[in-house]
Symmetry: C2
Subunit: 161 residues, 2 copies
Amino acid sequence: MNAMASAPTAAEAASAEAACGLLIMRLARASGRRLAASLESLGMTGHEFAVLHLLHDSGPLSQQQLSQGLRIHPSNLVGLLDALEADGLLARTRDPADRRRHIVAVTPAGLERLATAQRAAIEAERELLAPLSAKERGELLSYLRRMAASSCGMRGCAPKC
Amino acid sequence: MNAMASAPTAAEAASAEAACGLLIMRLARASGRRLAASLESLGMTGHEFAVLHLLHDSGPLSQQQLSQGLRIHPSNLVGLLDALEADGLLARTRDPADRRRHIVAVTPAGLERLATAQRAAIEAERELLAPLSAKERGELLSYLRRMAASSCGMRGCAPKC
DNA sequence: TCAAAACTATTGGTGAGTATAACGATTTGG
DNA sequence: CCAAATCGTTATACTCACCAATAGTTTTGA
């Protein structure tokens, strides 16, 4: 089937190894669909959920910090925050220390919506993680966290990742 | 900080659990960037690589089979195959049994390019998997495969996934 | 002190990627 | 033989990520 001498072995190895990145990308799309479907009934997008999620974990942040924390381009963040602010889920206030900055903080109403959205997100994730045992889920989470910290973590990422 | 009685516990649980899907989606973007960068020098996109990869694994397929195997919309597959066919990397022939179908098969030139691209993909993936030991990589691959088979596998996916 | 440079958020425009709808060509079933 | 279903194709619209440019603010340096 193949006249080349070196191609077959490389191809076989690649079929086993190089599938990991493609698998992750496929799972991400499937996961994103499910999450979006779960959040749709709440009138919330995945990005909006991620914003509230990070703000709840890290406390009030500037838009720049949000931007690099979520890997969302600053220009896209503007409309995102506009929508959330219009719904009263978060508030933008000028930083008194540096009036160029906006301090973005979740409102009590935003916390309520976040809790509801997190229940929906867990439900969506339950199906994704269904084939794994509790122990395996823990290991998977550990692996993914280490990969994310190394590959696109908050520090030490030489290029723009 | 919080006047609600039920929200805090749900929020804490979600912070631990619901992070998995978001992590996968973030890693997918980082992985996609690296893969695209590695394939760019070959003049190949990630989708084109996935097409050759699947065709090499599964043998000749119809465009519909390719479409649901790769989760690429049929209308988007057309231009993708056009480009690959123009480069002589694959061939479309009418299925004699059903002349509506196109049978898509990789050419020898396509196999060569696939082997080259797979080496590039492995190189791109090396950084992604760097923080994991060999044993952990095997476990991760097993987990991802099972999740993909269950969540967006080739069979038994009730809705359109 | 004051002008120049740097930083923050915002706007508008462009391109890639994805989804929907409609259309010929072909097959299938009544 | 004709209506319905299927496969690939085309055209189109929509979302999202990125780049360049702008206004307001702060910092820097002569």
